[in-house]
């Protein structure tokens, strides 16, 4: 098969970086192929995706060695604009790449820049929306779309110019399993109907297994292995739940709304020491709002919240005994060094000395001790996430609230984080963790909650969760490793 895209001995170093991000990558991609680029966080997958899309060879200050050829032409001999006619790139977070405010404008954007006449733009918009099964979204504002809908529009907006190759950088990492399924169906349709060549950067290889992609495994800037996808692993049997201890948080008929939009609807539940409770539900189902209510960051519209004995919990009153980790690691890097960040809460509450040994231990376990004098902004994504968890656990909280901290984590890092949470629960904390992976929940959690449009639709064991999901049209959650 002739190569549509050929990468030859490619090295790349970012401006001001001490290490090479790519170290001699060789890769050959044929027409109509689906290639999955996998590997641990910061192994060079996204850099290779940018290089293949033609974004790196012109970057000022970057060092580029080797070559990428598209249909025999060296990308470095052409401008970014010329290369973009051939290769389209869809980035991880659709919200970050939207340039306009409505679906129609977004898909028209690239075509208008190419000076297509309006009649041709109209037909290209129709085609692109049809191919991603999103024609019904045409008149919508982008800000009103769900995560899965946004990702479909992002794909359509790149696809509208009809590139030969579509590169997608972790297209499902921010999505719930239902939306993930819908995006994967779009990719399958693209391959089947349009015979488009697809390169997908993806941690969750097993979700791609039904499409039988060619797997390219990277490590430390190199390709270390290629071949078929791994067989779907057996989902572990749910662990025997730990016995619930003392109740640390209680919600009675709690509701909250953002203006006219209800976020929580009549929620009653209790959280006990010694347990990890998996909080599940589609994007926008109210998981983050529930966590913020428990931390005293949001006062619910109605109902009673009692946390660690506080009947009107405020974040100031809870900070000493509770911790929260938000979705985006960058929002929580507050110290000047890794050590400052890890110890910040203890320092602010006058308990630095007793907390030091535990913070040291957690940093060592997270592989961050050697980086303790570095700025937290210099850490990789996975390292930042481990630092967030360390900072929330160092003071030994009685209640830990964690909001989708596994997004963008490779399996090794995901298990590493889950083990930290398990240890925290085993030492007596109550942990409420928002996540999408039933497999990880079954392996580490003791109980599951499922939110459906702000309502607590399920509260029970992990064993019973499977039956609930199957019965209530949430089967996407039961797909391997999603």
């Amino acid at each position: 098969m002739p190569a549509l895209l050929q990468v030859t001995d490619l090295h790349y170093r970012y401006p001001r970086a001490s290490d090479w991000a790519l170290r001699g990558v060789n890769l050959r991609i044929g027409p109509g192929e689906m290639v999955a680029l996998a590997g641990p966080s910061a192994c060079g997958k996204s850099t290779l995706a940018l290089a293949m899309a033609g974004f790196l060879h012109e970057r000022p200050g970057g060092q580029w060695r080797g070559a990428v050829h598209a249909e025999g032409t060296d990308l470095a001999s052409r401008s970014l604009y010329e290369n973009a006619e051939f290769v389209g790139l869809v980035q991880q977070n659709p919200e970050d790449q939207f340039c306009t405010l409505t679906v129609e404008d977004e898909i028209a954007f690239g075509l208008e820049n190419r000076c297509y006449p309006p009649e041709q733009i109209a037909s290209q918009i129709d085609w692109a929306l049809d191919i991603v099964a999103a024609r019904h979204l045409q008149r919508r504002q982008l800000s009103t779309l769900s995560g899965g809908e946004q990702q479909r529009v992002a794909i359509a907006s790149v696809l509208a110019a009809r590139p030969r190759i579509l590169i997608l950088d972790e297209p499902t990492s921010n999505l719930d399993p239902t939306a993930t399924q819908s995006v994967l169906q779009v990719l399958e349709r693209l391959r089947r109907q349009e015979e488009l060549t697809l390169v997908i950067v993806e941690h969750k290889l097993e979700v791609l297994a039904p499409f039988a992609p060619r797997i390219v495994l990277m490590e430390d800037g190199r390709i270390v292995q290629g071949g078929a996808p791994p067989p779907a692993s057996e989902r572990p049997a749910p662990r025997n739940p730990s016995a619930p201890g003392e109740t640390v948080a209680k919600l009675v008929r709690v509701s909250h709304d953002y203006g006219s939009r209800p976020a929580l609807d009549d929620i009653s539940l209790e959280l006990q020491r010694g347990q990890i409770v998996a909080l599940m539900g589609d994007n926008g189902s109210g998981k983050s709002t529930l966590l913020r209510c428990l931390m005293g960051l949001i006062r619910p519209t109605s109902g009673a919240v009692t946390v660690l004995g506080n009947t009107v919990p405020t974040v100031s009153s809870l900070a000493r005994r509770a911790g929260i980790v938000f979705q985006n690691p960058d929002h929580q890097l507050l110290g000047e060094t890794v050590w400052d960040d890890a110890i910040m809460l203890a320092r602010n509450t006058g308990r630095e000395e007793p907390v030091r040994p535990r913070a040291q231990e957690l940093l060592r376990q997270g592989g961050l001790w050697e980086r303790r004098e570095d700025s937290p902004w210099r850490l990789s994504y996975g390292q930042k996430r481990r630092l967030n968890v360390t900072a929330a656990l160092a003071h030994g909280p009685d209640l830990l609230l964690a909001d989708e901290i596994l997004i963008g984590q490779d399996p090794t890092n995901a298990h590493r984080l889950m083990r930290r949470l398990r240890e925290s629960a085993d030492s007596g904390a109550a942990v409420l963790l928002a996540l999408h992976s039933v497999a990880l929940a079954q392996r580490y959690a003791d109980r599951a909650l499922f939110l459906d449009s702000g309502r607590l639709a399920f509260d029970g064991t992990l064993e019973a969760l499977g039956a609930y999901l199957a019965e209530h049209d949430h089967t996407a959650y039961l797909e391997p490793t999603v």
């Binding site: 790139l89 977070n93 028209a108 208008e112 000076c115 938000f326």
Partner: protein
């Protein structure tokens, strides 16, 4: 999602929503300039009444939909009170406190209505414009009217990102509170401290976002050519013609009042 952004375009609109963005922009500029050029207090006072009526007909309820409505009213009241209490020229109409030497004059009342009315009229007109004008519609209309498209998309990007930055700043602030950061001391000191703590994470987030947005825009050929085409069309309809005729009337009246 941790909150909502109050001052933004409302999609559930009435007749004001249907007007062409440039018609509304013309009215906003006309009212703003007129309010400052005409020295009679009735001009801004009538403008406020007119804006209130227009808002009502457009299904906008100031107390519900306009950001900082109470602050706006109290600031206007403060402007009015300051002018009334501290203007000494004109003839006295009341003497509330001869001990403090404060005398209310007709000139003070006139200036009070003028200053408070100008303030209310300009802020209300601006908020009404934002609440009833699709921002991308405005940007596209400006670009079609001759604004270079690079500046037009700078406006679109700013409009799109502003609410995201607001939510991001809120999350960072909440993360700081959860880590025991206390904002004690005077209001000024608290503001400086919040800015100091928020600035770096927000700046880093903004730079990352800008980088990803640049990749997205360049990958879709933004900036390749000097000109671009536009898919979106917006024509002036009969209501626009009526509104523009009324605007012309406003301009004539404004000039007449200035001359008179």
């Amino acid at each position: 999602m941790s909150g909502r952004v109050k001052l933004q375009y409302r999609t559930d609109g009435g007749w004001l929503h249907e007007l062409h963005p440039l018609t509304k922009l013309g009215w906003l500029l006309g009212l703003t300039v007129g309010s400052f050029l005409v020295a009679t207090p009735w001009y801004p006072a009538l403008a406020v009444v007119g804006l209130w009526g227009a808002a009502y007909l457009a299904r906008i309820r100031p107390a519900r939909d306009m950001r900082g409505w109470r602050l706006l009213l109290s600031t206007s009241a403060a402007f009015f009170a300051l002018q009334v209490l501290f203007t000494r020229s004109g003839s006295a109409v009341a003497d509330p406190s001869s001990v403090l030497g404060l005398v209310i004059t007709d000139e003070g009342l006139r200036r009070g209505v003028l200053v408070a009315g100008r303030f209310l009229a300009v802020i209300m007109a601006s908020q009404l414009f934002v609440l009833t004008t699709d921002p991308s519609g405005l940007a596209y209309a400006l670009m079609r009217a001759g604004l270079p498209y690079r500046y037009g998309f700078a406006l679109v990007t700013a409009i799109r990102l502003a609410p995201l930055f607001e939510l991001e700043a809120n999350t960072i602030y909440q993360a700081q509170l959860a880590r025991g950061v206390r904002y004690d001391g005077s209001l000024f000191r608290r503001i400086i401290e919040v800015l100091r703590q928020l600035l770096l994470p927000l700046l880093v987030g903004a730079l990352r976002r800008a980088e990803r947005l640049a990749v997205s825009m360049e990958g879709r050929q933004f900036g390749r050519y000097r000109q671009r085409t536009f898919y979106r069309t917006a024509q002036l309809g009969p209501p626009d013609h009526v509104a523009l005729a009324a605007l012309l009337g406003l301009v004539v009246v404004t000039i007449w009042l200035m001359v008179a």
